[in-house]
Symmetry: C2
Subunit: 654 residues, 2 copies
């Protein structure tokens, strides 16, 4: 049986493809592959814990068993939920399925099933902002009415408010949210006319409470990634983060990347609503988690801020993102938005608001605005390149004088997609690799030090850079024929693969290898980043009649944070400048959302930014194909800009 | 058996007290009293149509029968709903109930049960306004996007809008309702980028539709009375009323007047919500009725305006009105409000708004503001008295120079409450009365020419005025002892009553009479109106060092519309000026709501009005008791201001 005729099953959201050699049930397959999943009964079909969603290939599987009919609801069975331990490929479908070279079965593992958490980057470099939140609380003591001056409750409250320093302005007449107005008569009399008002943008009363609760004022900043969600709970009276919670974006169940989610929405009548409510449920869980940790109630959160790419932005807002996916890729709206939390079904204070950062274009979203705000690239004197590497890749080039941006759909290879042994950065993923050039011996580390299951993005970068340094591959990306007789090379069908980890040392009981195709995928990804940055730089230099060069680099996002920056330069993913000018700034988009929560002036800045920044549609630029082809080489076809490579100048070109 | 020991049952909302002499079941009693109610089976207990709510006295009644258990839900039975034909007083309770001089049983007849509609005044004098509504529709053709200028949908829409005349302003940047934003991508592409936008206050986009729908723009004006609700559907593109619908205010089931409804709210945990949802359901039914008649959809209504007294206002908004009922009688808010219809559960367009006219004080509400706006009392050169006679009575005195207002809780006697044979203005009510002074022969008319059931407000005014002219009563309100031996006087217990209609001519098979107590009730009501107007006038004259007199009178409201104005003067309810200066202006409050819908400038006027108008707490004015005592006489203790009376100067004082 050759490789192309085995039973392949893709498991999401860890992006891991497993070979089901013995046709085990899914629970056994996962356990035997070292992927720890929750179960109380150990696979006997009695606890109902190992619930999975079969996204594709249901027709190859056995029908639901009695156990499943008992432990799953009718709706769940209709939606193809299964218990992993009850679910296997039926005998007479095995030959059929083996004929397909690509996996025909895709299974989604809900977050609650996975025992080991994903490695989600939550921290980011924060340059600090002054505290000037959009929401402020004021304690006042209100006059009581009498028959001579029977002044309505609200008028007496506004009078008391006008005497405080917070609102000491001419012609001060704040409005009041209807929900808050309804509470006024009772709250006012609960603690003898002593109340605390919550003011939004200094001119709208969005809550009132009896007594003095000025200290209890919170906000939450959200980063809605295609793959991960992070929430930061911040006390608005001292500006400090009180707790952080993260989760996988459960939309992954309906499509790995933004394009497949748009497709899901197009093909399913209630698709948009489903994706929208799915992410909202997850955000509300994060709210509850952060609040539980900080020992506060969600009703004490008055504002939430949001960054995310344009498709995540639209789905979060329940706006159809279809036209972002079709040329000319326009979003419905790009300006920033203030929306009542209740209109979004966001479970914070009933009168609370959501602030959604603006978009730049269909494929450069609010996350990029967040990166610019937190990295302050717009204040740099030197020309700076910032790359946000997530499921999509956004590129910013600029300084205090000008700014331009574009995107490349290159991230997914770096999250394990399309790589044979690739996977996301979860427990058991190989994340760093060293190869001894003398004997091609491979050393590696894995996340959580577990026996390896697959390779994540930083591991792939390391592997390819090390293979290059060891001359296992050439600069054009092919295996170097002078070493392919080494024992690490094994033959799979007609192709060669280089073995990183032998099967007896893996969890999955199969070799973990790198194929020629895997290297091509990485070449395309890194070439897209490099040529994208190049095209934006060229544009800026032409528009400004300058000949500037990139002087510093910001690597944002989880992937940017974990990669070996030397190796990223070595393979030509980023320009080859001195390490000391390459900064790994972490979840800069999330920090941007935090900063907008802390200081409302940054929102004005964001509005100005999106008017100033030039958006470049990289793929339609005239010189794109030429630049891209050159950037496919390691590190590049032209070596003039890659001084680091000089000590390895004996790596063959082909 | 004397009068004080019969079985008395009060029926609402018609305010009719019936004597259940033979202890018939409630269906028989109603039918035999000439009150037509719906039934398919004619009282056999099989159709379930004759559903009534027992508000008081359940303990005297038989338990639910098998028929009722079959035809009513468990909830209905728990809430004391009964079938009128299954429901009677149990034998052993009859003696007990007869011991009480006041009725121990109160039964509410739902509107759908009553076959004959109430007489609800919907029309009013309209001086006309220019058409300048708050909501405008604009048809635009939007540019399509392209790769060179991939401008978001909303930006292209705003650009197209900025080129129209409607919004040709500097710095025009309207906001967009979130619900509308969500529709943009699909609606824009439905008819080839041709759309109609609905603008609210010229700066907020509250709806967008494919194609040109400029002509379909409606609004609805509501008058929320304590007893009745009226809705006027108006086309905002031509300013015309397309349909009118009215209903009884179903809150009457929980209390006849505002004070009893406040009590219900205080005594019931979910009382406010119950009263609120009850009236909202009725308003939404009116919306459906008016739309069905005009053959439009409620989604084509973009704005609704509202008038109502302060308690109706608060309950409609779901604001606790408790403190309006307690000294110093302050409302939670008095300024006007714009609230999204969806926040009120008002079923018009999803992006539509409600405009609620401002209040003046706890007992002078938005209905009074509506009366001022439509009657334009503030533009009169002559000092004018306006009285709005509904379940409560509001009094306005003013002209172009000054305005003052106050209220008196005097209306309910004029709606039949506290009057032995009183009832609301429904079919079978005696509405006009003439008495021949020579033989004391009574002629009368009834609403819908039905055999009489009781007397409504205008009938009571007529009766008392005619008794006065015939010297049956004296100016102090007592029966004139010189005529009490007339055959029309009958003895009930120790008291005398004057017979208006003999039992063989009534529906209820009992005499319809006027008692000494009934006359006292009317004296108190009319005295309150007159002395209230007097106190306001005195205040104005003192404040302005003037000696002005009332030169014209506006009688607003249903009651004001139907009374004989000569008789109202004759008994001293209103000042005695020439008939030609007394105007019956109908539902002036409702016209005020309509005008605010048609012309948004009137809302500025309303805001200014409530700052300008002086509110006077009549009952706490120093001279009130003295004025009130004098005004209890017919027409008044001092006759100098009542020239009309001269021809009847032989009516004895006592």
């Amino acid at each position: 049986m050759n490789n192309n005729s085995s039973i392949l099953i893709d498991f999401e959201p860890i992006s891991r493809r497993l070979h089901n050699i013995k046709n085990e049930n899914f629970y056994q397959l996962l356990i035997n592959s070292g992927i720890r999943v929750r179960s109380l009964c150990g696979g006997l079909g009695t606890c109902g814990k190992c619930k999975v969603l079969v996204q594709e290939g249901n027709k190859y599987l056995n029908p639901p068993t009695d156990s499943e009919k008992k432990l799953l609801t009718k709706e769940e069975i209709n939606e193809n939920f299964r218990l992993a331990c009850q679910c296997y490929i039926v005998e007479d479908q095995i030959d059929l399925i083996k004929k397909h070279p690509q996996p025909q079965i895709r299974v989604f593992l809900p977050q609650e099933l996975l025992v080991e958490d994903f490695k989600i980057l939550t921290s980011g470099l924060n340059k600090g902002v002054n505290l000037n939140p959009n929401v402020k609380k004021v304690f006042i003591e209100v006059d009581k009415p009498n028959l001579k001056t029977p002044i309505p409750d609200l008028e007496r409250i506004l009078y008391a408010l006008s005497t405080t320093s917070v609102t000491n302005k001419n012609q001060f007449e704040p409005s009041i949210e209807f929900e808050t107005l309804k509470k006024i008569p009772l709250v006012l009399r609960e603690d003898n006319h002593r109340i605390t008002l919550t003011l939004y943008e200094d001119n709208k009363i969005i809550d009132c409470e009896a007594g003095n609760s000025v200290a209890n004022s919170y906000g939450i900043a959200f980063d809605i990634g295609t793959t991960t969600l992070v929430g930061y709970l911040i006390n608005l009276s001292d500006g400090k983060i009180y707790s952080i919670a993260s989760a996988l974006n459960p939309q992954t169940a309906y499509g790995e990347d933004v394009v497949s989610r748009i497709t899901y929405i197009k093909n399913n009548k209630e698709g948009l609503l489903k994706l929208n409510s799915t992410v909202l449920d997850a955000l509300n869980l994060i709210i509850n988690e952060t609040c539980a940790e900080a020992k506060i109630s969600p009703s004490q959160i008055y504002e939430a801020t949001f960054v995310g790419n344009s498709v995540m932005h639209h789905i979060f807002l329940n706006i159809d993102p279809t036209y972002i996916g079709l040329s000319p890729y326009v979003p419905a709206i790009k300006k920033d938005l203030n929306i009542q939390a209740k209109d979004l079904n966001l479970k914070i204070n009933r009168g609370g608001y959501a602030y959604i950062l603006p978009l730049i274009a269909g494929y450069v979203g609010a996350d990029t605005v967040g990166v610019i705000l937190s990295s302050e690239i717009d204040k740099e004197s030197e020309l700076t390149l910032a790359i946000d590497v997530g499921t999509n890749g956004e590129i910013i080039v600029g300084n205090k004088d000008f700014l331009a941006t574009g995107s490349c759909a290159a991230g997914s290879a770096l999250e394990g997609a399309h790589i044979n042994n690739g996977m996301r950065a979860a427990a058991g993923a190989i994340d760093t690799v060293k190869i001894d050039p003398t004997d091609l011996n491979v050393r590696y580390t894995t996340i959580n030090n577990k026996k390896p299951i697959g390779i994540c993005g930083s591991g792939i970068i390391d592997t390819v850079a090390e293979m290059l340094k060891s001359k296992i591959i050439t600069r054009s990306g092919g295996f170097n024929k002078q070493v392919t007789d080494h024992e690490s090379f094994i033959k799979k069908g007609k192709s060669l693969e280089f073995t990183l980890v032998k099967k007896d040392q893996t969890s999955i009981k199969r070799d973990i290898t790198i194929s020629q195709n895997d290297i091509r995928e990485l070449q395309m990804a890194k070439g897209a980043f490099y040529s994208g940055a190049r095209i934006i730089l060229n544009y800026l230099n032409q528009a400004n009649e300058s000949k500037l060069k990139i002087k510093q680099i910001y690597l944002a996002g989880a992937f940017g944070n974990y990669i070996n920056k030397g190796n990223a330069k070595f393979i030509g993913m980023i320009p080859d400048i001195s390490d000391e000018f390459i900064y790994q700034i972490g979840n800069a988009a999330g920090v941007g959302a935090q900063n907008c929560l802390l200081n409302t002036e940054l929102r004005d800045k964001a509005r100005k930014l999106i008017k100033k920044i030039k958006y470049i549609e990289i793929a339609v630029a005239q010189e794109f194909q030429k630049e891209y082809a050159k950037a496919m080489y390691f590190p590049h076809l032209d070596l003039e800009n890659f001084p680091s490579l000089t000590e390895y100048n004996d790596i063959p070109k082909r």
